[in-house]
Assembly symmetry: C2
Homo-oligomer: 257 residues x 2
């Protein structure tokens, strides 16, 4: 890498297959939720079938699981021996990702809950207001010695919502507001994560100089957090509107320094 970041435009599966195995220290991924079978076609090179016998067929279940097994297995190849991966999602996708991690031999280190104290209200009144997302953090294998910056995490204080007090251990439930709309300029990604969330993950799970990958990088928040804290970054994104946005966000950051 010439610079300390690279945004690659194109299909995640194809680009993941071209990257250098064993070189990434940390991967953050917010994969598509694959809701409502929206025309996304997945043709896996690997054979993974789930024989559900006479159980009801849930439309698209096999294809979704196959999709997650495929990109996660590619990520496993790219991770260094002590590397870790963090996958974010909601109930629509996260169980399949969790299962895929188990099937692929990862060791789950934590299930982190991102609680959104300013989450959108529920308009139907038929259930509870959805106010969180889940992040599964896992190491490549049971034997690996993963990075965890324990002391760095103690400085965080979620006192705004009293989830913990400063100076104590960091818990696995984080209260972080969603990025307000007014800060989201034209073209920002619909599922953009707050910068603070990614900063926390990067600071917890990586060392300075480490190489970070985001295979579905969107508007590049993972890259911003990584470069901001002197980690190197590779992002993959197929929409050119987002690759441009990601590049400019990270470049502006570098200029500001």
């Amino acid at each position: 890498m010439d610079t300390n970041f690279e945004i690659l435009k194109g299909d995640s599966f194809k680009i993941l297959a071209q990257l250098e195995p064993g070189t990434f220290d940390f991967i953050f991924a917010d994969p598509p939720y694959l809701l409502s079978n929206d025309g996304l076609s997945v043709k896996s090179g690997k054979q993974v079938s789930v024989n559900k016998g006479d159980w009801d067929k849930s439309q698209g279940f096999d294809e979704d699981l196959e999709f997650h097994l495929r990109w996660i297995s590619q990520c496993k190849v790219l991770l260094s021996s002590n590397g870790t991966i963090a996958i974010s999602g909601t109930r629509h996708s996260i169980y399949k990702c969790g299962i895929a991690l188990e099937m692929l031999g990862f060791r789950i280190l934590n299930e982190i809950i991102w609680f959104k104290p300013n989450g959108a209200p529920n308009l139907t009144g038929r259930n509870f207001a959805e106010s969180h997302e889940t992040i599964i953090w896992a190491s490549k294998s049971k034997k690996s010695k993963h990075t965890f910056n324990y002391e760095a995490m103690k400085v965080y204080d979620d006192s705004g919502d009293k989830l913990k007090s400063e100076g104590k251990q960091m818990r696995d439930v984080w209260s972080i507001p969603t990025t307000p709309m007014r800060e989201k300029g034209h073209g920002k990604h619909p599922t953009q994560k707050p910068l603070e969330l990614l900063e926390r993950l990067v600071l917890a799970c990586t060392k300075e100089g480490d190489l970070v990958l985001d295979p579905f990088c969107g508007s590049g928040t993972t890259g911003v957090a990584s470069v901001m804290h002197n980690r190197k970054f590779v992002g993959i994104e197929k929409e050119s509107a987002y690759t441009k946005l990601a590049i400019s966000r990270i470049k502006n950051l570098k200029k500001a320094k």
Copy 2:
């Protein structure tokens, strides 16, 4: 039922098979986590195999999924057409339960996070302190009209931890302290849930007079919450120490009234 509750001692699979189909309005279950393959043998009557091809085999994965598919499918038969089920667990079990619900055609209504503000500390300093459990709430089918007591839920106030303010919508992240040791007498269940948690679930998901089932009822907290709020209850538990405890907890409650 002569009284408004019944505790059945024995094997959950066998007893579930004997109960009257379509009669339960709400099921709460905290199934075993099946950790470390501790000799629990599961022989499913249904054929469910997961062909993992050349993926790594995670010891016990198939058996665990089969176990959850089996008891959940039995529960589906027992649910009334508009009934719902709530399944609690940690990352060790909850992904398989979520997958099983999807495979069996349930409609997931919410993923509720029980945040434990007083959760046990992490002693290793190698990851974040685990401070939550997950509860998946699902209806029997996409078409069913489930019960949700929207207004009743607005009275709750998590202000002790500022997760919400009284009078607003109830979110899907609940801050409820674990039951302190001093309130757990001899013989109490190791994974006993706080009464407040079960009360909230029962009040949200059932009407007065409804019939509630807990297939792994332990020390009977689900029964206490149900009877306390004029719901009928059936619990299943194989350990006689816990069946006795559950009966006495619910009887004492009735005496007090």
